[in-house]
Amino acid sequence: MLPADSSRRLVAELQGALDACAEQEQQLDQSLRVCRRLLGTWKPAGVPEPEPSHEDPSPGAPSPQDLKELELLTQALEKAVRVRKSPSKTAERAKVPNQKPRTKAPTAPAPPQAPGRTSSHTSVTRPTRSSHQPKVLTTGHQEHRLRPAQERATLGTGARATKPSLGDPQVTSAAPRGPEVFTLKEKGSLLRLPLAFQKTVSQNSRLWAQLTSTQASDTEEAAARARFLQKMQAASGRAAPGLSMAQVEAEVGTLRRACWLLRLHMNNETAAAPADWVQEYRRVLTLEGLQTMAGQCLRRLQELRQAVAGQQLDPWPLGKPPQACPCRGGADANWKPQLLLYSSTRELQSLVAHQLHTTMLAQQLHLQKVLMAELLPLVRGTPSPSRLALCRAVHSLLCDGGQHFPVALRDEPAD
């Protein structure tokens, strides 16, 4: 049994690690669900998923499918009522259902009213937003092939490899059959992003670029800010405090990284086999240089310790500073769209596996340090009957990477 105070820390650390893992698992589950759904058959929203049969149902049942299509389009149009307007897409919207083989709707600028629809559609008088286009995609299965052609016309993306013969032949050939299922594998390359979305995204990147450029070139504002800070400092009536805890934490982080890098280099140098004597001289110089740098870092740490002790700085609330890592936007909003290219699934998988492995090992190292700090003093205590079990437990946790559980045998002295 462990004493209460050390066990509290152990349990808190382990529980925290487990909670962090659980959180990651949750997020991963969510994105896995999304991905799996995307790679399966896309069902029209609001209708229970049809059986994923590979062959079309017998074409000798037009009326149920007719009704099903009508229902789908009903739902689509109902959704359209809730969506904001966009005049640019009215013509397309009118054009698209026009080519639907079963509807004989007139090509009016207003959204078409197919014959025999329920009266709920008469309320659809507003033109729909272009982001409604993807809804048309999922409900009218034949229609998605028409969208690329129209998008090409409006966007002028003639360079892309969409087939120009997308228009009528496929529609007419598909017309007699029932609605086909849509899978990403077969028809993924025909998708197009809605125009409103593209516009918003490009506006977003433009605004970010503007913001970062203004940040780089504002000397007047920087002067005004500096003046204000000085006035604040003067008005507070205290001498300049020196370091804040946030700065201390940042420096400690830097020095921890320095320690890691220095150790890496030291291992490189000492592991290398002795080469010719000039190389060897350089190696000696390198090691001595590393030693000097380590000494400088140590001196800096001592200064920080004195500062912390002398000023009675308060530690960070909640135990960790939220902006220690620059990747959370620490230094400034230096946002640039950064891409990572990969060429095969295996590459991507091994990258992710490496990253996770590294994180896992770092966490295990930290936990082992905590365990060592808490458990080793207990093991070194006075011998007692229960100490055997404790030793065995400590061995299983700390030795051999926690992989083995040793067996303890009492060796009876032979009589």
Binding site: M1, P3, S7, R8, R9, L10, A17, L18, E25, L28, V34, L39, S131, P134, L184, G188, L191, L193, F197, T200, V201, N204, L211, E221, R227, M232, S236, S244, M245, E249, L255, R257, W260, V278, E280, Y281, R282, L290, M293, A294, L313, P315, W316, P317, L318, C325, G329, D332, A333, L339, L341, Y342, S343, Q349, L351, H354, H366, L367, S396, L397
Partner: protein, 393 residues
């Protein structure tokens, strides 16, 4: 005050007419979107403005994303106070504000301006809530991320440890953690495979040529228009905030002039009245632990380096003596210069950590033939290069 805007475009230094615009732009950029009136009321230290400002400071300083729980107002006040002190806020009047959050709006306004004057606050806030439309791969090698452990001053953990703990429970927790990690790695591998398929199947769809294919989020928006609507709405909201931030930048000098008047309206602080009230030990001393830990590691490293360097040098000098070699002066100088350069690069590496490719990268799979051409242009990171940079498992 509700003054109407007379002109839209006005040079900085125009005075009072542009001030409402500046404050409105600022409040549109900030996370909780406080009412611009709050700022005016705070100048006159009216108590109605205080709760909104406490909430705002809490969101700005301590709340990293929208998912974390928000504690009740008294706790918010305490946390904001200690966070400001940890940042080095100079004015002592803040610590003397009552904990029920009902007073001190002028002081809070000064605190907010002090944070803004640091220069990068708005940028950081906007980056924090940036909407990502691609499949992101975090490329961060910071060890801080691995130390995602519990903070020790939360209310008691679920296991009652007042009577001591059985070791087997600790062993069980460690095993559970290991199992969870393996599960996580498997799950991630599956996700990589799925994402890779999605990227392959949607090649040629994206309007942005440099990207080429859709991401999972974009494909999802095509499949489910409701989700797409959500995404669009979030993007538009971010665009609104970005525009407000740009306008704020334009009108910033006016704000600082006004803040000077606010500062002037404050009663003069008495000179340092002795040591500040220290906070109770309910806050963990994790920062001190870190300091101690790093000191110990560096000391151990320094000793190892000392031994290694001495050993190598004596060996080398012995070798030189035996073989009767002599280093000529140019050789010495060249070697020293080389080593200096290497060490300077090393120092730069840890001091300029932020310059490394940090932050989430968007995954892009170029079509097979074009990989070479793609690698030439633009700020892209090829997977092979990044793999070299990673420390191996």
């Amino acid at each position: 005050m509700g003054r109407r805007r007379r002109r839209l475009e006005r040079q900085a230094g125009a005075g009072a007419e542009a001030l409402p615009e500046a404050i409105a732009a600022l409040s549109r950029t900030l996370p909780t979107r406080p009412n611009p009136e709050t700022f005016r009321r705070a100048k006159f230290d009216l108590p109605e403005a205080a709760p909104a400002l406490w909430r705002l400071l809490f969101h700005v300083l301590l709340r990293e994303d929208d998912g974390t729980a928000v504690p009740y107002p008294e706790a918010q006040v305490r946390l904001v106070k200690s966070a400001l002190r940890a940042h080095g806020y100079p004015r002592p009047a803040l610590t003397q504000l009552p904990e029920d959050g009902s007073q001190g709006s002028r002081e809070l306004l000064l605190a907010l301006s002090w944070l803004l004057a640091g220069g990068s606050l708005l940028g950081r806030l906007l980056t924090r809530t940036h909407v990502l439309t691609g499949d992101q791969m975090p490329m961060c090698e910071c060890e801080d991320l691995a130390h995602a452990t519990a903070c020790l001053d939360l209310p008691a953990p679920c296991k009652d440890t007042s009577n001591g703990l059985d070791m087997r429970y600790v062993q069980w927790l460690m095993g559970k953690l290991r199992f969870r990690w393996l599960n996580l790695i498997c799950g991630h591998q599956e996700q990589c495979a799925l994402l890779s398929k999605i990227h392959q199947y949607t090649q040629g769809c994206h309007s942005n040529q440099s990207l080429g294919h859709l991401s999972a989020a974009e494909t999802e928006l095509l499949r489910d228009p409701e989700a797409g609507q959500q995404l669009l709405w979030r993007l538009e909201r971010e665009n609104g905030r970005l525009e407000a931030a740009l306008e704020w930048r334009r009108l910033e000098p006016i704000f600082w002039q006004w803040m000077d008047t606010v500062l002037g309206a404050c009663p003069q602080c008495p000179s340092d009245t002795g040591p500040q009230p220290t906070f109770q030990a309910a806050i963990s001393d994790r920062g001190h632990e870190e300091l101690e830990l790093v000191t110990r590691e560096l000391q151990a490293l320094w000793q190892e380096l000392q031994l290694a360097a001495e050993a190598r040098r004596t060996a080398w000098e012995a070798q030189v003596q035996i073989q009767g070699l002599e280093l000529s002066t140019p050789q010495v100088l060249v070697s020293e210069a080389m080593v200096e350069r290497q060490l300077a690069t090393l120092r730069q590496a840890w001091e300029q950590w932020g310059a490394l490719p940090h932050g989430p990268h968007r995954l892009v799979r170029p079509p097979a033939r074009e990989t070479r051409a793609w690698s030439m242009a633009g700020p892209k990171l090829l997977l092979e290069h990044s793999m070299e940079a990673l420390p191996g498992p």
